[in-house]
């Protein structure tokens, strides 16, 4: 199994390289460059100092040359310094990454906790009132834009009712809180972002579970189970559920890029101190080292997620063996 994982990691190196080339190219050919961003908003910066900046960052070179220089440094894990504040990009990302992982892990867990029971129940009670109502809710969730839902929830729960904070991950007085107050404070801040990032994926996932379950319930081994005299409950939980849930492992693995992409929007709306907001700000400021760093990390997390999903799948499904 370790040779399998090792092989997969080696194979992902060219993929990551490809992703960085594309990120770099897109970034480079997007209008505006870091020197403009610094110079244009500050009238005191003269044309000469702008030239100096361009030289300093090496922005006058061709894009492939710049990419090559970047790559040479990345090989020794030097992602360069942020153009904005001179701090190492890797450090800036490392500070923000845990918050993003926390947000996404929580929303995956919440998503599974809701969508599995919902999907199973609506499959078992196909076309019942419950199933129909749920279908309606699911399609609503699916078609509501994330930013709109976020703003609505912020308005209602944050502004009108005043129940929940609408931005950040901690309160201003966080440093003075006791341990339990800290936990409570974190939870209160997490509720809205986690809920919003769960909305869309809950809709998709509960449909997957429902159709997977419906499909499994038609299989031949389900007939065997019923003909042995098992009850509906036993058939659903002992025979159908595992078969229906297996594909979810892969789907969750594949949903990681979507989650990271979603983080850019959600974290920005909620001023959440995660990698997504850092990325948004870096893009706006054309902060090349930080953008590239986030690109590499995202690509790495995505590929790692897929490898983990494949390994888990192989260990959960007796029919699959590593090659």
């Amino acid at each position: 199994m370790f040779t399998y994982i090792f092989k997969r990691l080696i194979y992902s190196i060219p993929i990551i390289l490809g992703i960085t080339v594309m990120t770099f190219a897109v970034m480079f050919f997007t209008p505006g460059n870091p020197a403009d961003m610094v110079a244009d908003f500050n009238i005191k910066v003269s044309a000469e100092s702008k030239e100096r900046l361009i030289k300093l960052y090496g922005l006058d070179k061709a894009w492939y040359e710049q990419y090559w220089n970047w790559l040479k440094r990345v090989v020794v894990l030097d992602f360069g310094n942020s153009f904005r504040d001179g701090k190492p990009a890797s450090k800036k990302i490392a500070e923000r990454l845990p918050a993003t992982i926390l947000l996404n892990v929580l929303s995956i867990i919440l998503m599974l906790c809701i969508s599995i029971p919902v999907g199973v129940y609506s499959a078992v009670k196909k076309y019942s009132l419950f199933d129909r109502v749920l279908t309606a809710i699911v399609f609503t969730c699916f078609s509501v834009p994330v930013f709109w839902a976020a703003l609505m929830l912020m308005t209602v729960f944050g502004l009108w009712l005043g129940w929940l904070p609408i931005s950040g991950l901690t309160s201003f007085e966080f440093g003075e809180f006791s341990f339990f107050e800290k936990i409570l404070d974190l939870c209160r801040h997490l509720i809205l972002p986690v809920f919003v990032s769960t909305l869309g994926s809950f809709a998709v996932m509960s449909r997957y579970v429902r159709s997977g379950m419906l499909d499994v319930l038609k299989q031949d081994y389900i007939k065997t189970a019923y003909s042995k005299g098992l009850s509906k409950r036993q058939v659903v939980f002992n025979h159908a559920l595992k078969n229906a849930l297996l594909p979810l492992i892969t789907i969750i693995g594949l949903s990681i890029p979507g989650l990271i992409g979603g983080s850019f929007i959600i974290e920005t709306i909620f001023s959440y101190p995660g990698m997504g907001r850092l990325g948004y700000e870096a893009i706006m400021a054309r902060d090349y080292p930080v953008i590239m760093g986030i690109g590499v990390i995202s690509a790495f997390l995505t590929l790692l997620g897929n490898i983990i999903a494949d390994v888990l799948y192989a260990s959960a499904d007796p029919r699959i063996r590593y090659k």
Binding site: S227, K228, G229, S231
Partner: protein, 267 residues
């Protein structure tokens, strides 16, 4: 009174192009201890009859349109689903047409066998359940018990799977066993073994057998009574000795003639 009595049974499938009348007003009686054969070409509705007796029609999206199926005095079709749970697997069991897909791929075979015991004998201890499972496997001539118990179905041969399914079906010593083409997909030698096995079990346990097949030789050789189905209807039902010697129905006559000119394993 017959052990199993099917009266005016009709089963329909909803297909994209309309309704398929798979079973159309079928009636027959099966006496205790008898071997009853249902024969007919592919698509004539044999499996659908079995499906209705086992109350499995819902799973295929089929509907029982009319009819009664009496097991002793009880109409199986009038029972609530929960009440039928005490009958299937305990009084009436079935072996299905294709062994390949009838075992759950993600549950160990041993667990699936034990489950069949446990569901009807909730008070048995773990070791007693294991013992029964082992003796059922012995009855179907499966050695290498330990390995089979801990295997998943994809590791087993078609013949082994069919034996396991047979073991699960007879494990609670049912009164009626329905065997739907228990030998399709198996090679000739294994086909014969499985058939002999079912006959042998019948002898030992006093089973009443319903054998579904499109192989007339099997019906003639192994059954007491034969029903011939065509397009959802039983067109002739008589003691096997008579029906194969001088069939009354023209279609049955053709069928028996064709069958004698074909080798035994042809479908």
């Amino acid at each position: 009174m017959p052990l199993l009595s099917v009266k005016n049974l009709s089963v329909e499938y909803k297909a994209s192009f309309g309704v398929v009348k798979a079973v159309d007003g079928v009636s027959f009686d099966v006496e205790k201890g008898e071997v009853f054969a249902i024969v007919g070409r592919s698509g004539s509705g044999k499996s659908s009859v079995a499906s209705a007796i086992m109350r499995l029609t819902d799973i295929d999206g089929a509907q029982i349109k009319s009819g009664e199926i009496f097991y002793r005095e009880t109409d199986l079709l009038k029972l609530s689903f929960d009440d039928t749970r005490k009958i299937y697997g305990k009084k009436i069991s079935m072996i299905f047409q294709d062994p390949q897909s009838y075992l759950n791929p993600v549950i160990k075979v041993g667990k699936q066998i034990e489950e069949a015991v446990k569901v009807h004998n909730p008070k048995l201890s773990k070791s007693e359940i294991k013992e029964r499972a082992a003796s059922a496997l012995k009855k179907v001539n499966l050695d290498d018990m330990q390995r089979i118990f801990n295997s998943y179905s994809h590791r087993l041969s078609g013949g082994q799977k069919q034996r396991i399914l047979t073991a699960m079906a007879i494990i609670n010593e049912p009164e009626i066993l329905i065997a739907d083409e228990p030998t399709t997909g198996l090679d000739a030698a294994v086909q014969k073994q499985i058939l002999d096995l079912i006959k042998e079990l019948k002898g030992k346990m006093g089973l009443t057998l319903i054998i579904i097949t499109h192989n007339l030789k099997i019906a003639e050789k192994h059954s007491d009574k034969t029903a011939v189905m065509r397009s959802g209807k039983i067109i002739e039902c008589a003691p096997s000795k008579e029906i194969f010697k001088n069939p009354k129905n023209e279609y049955v006559k053709q069928l028996t003639n064709v069958s004698y000119s074909l080798p035994e394993q042809m479908p």
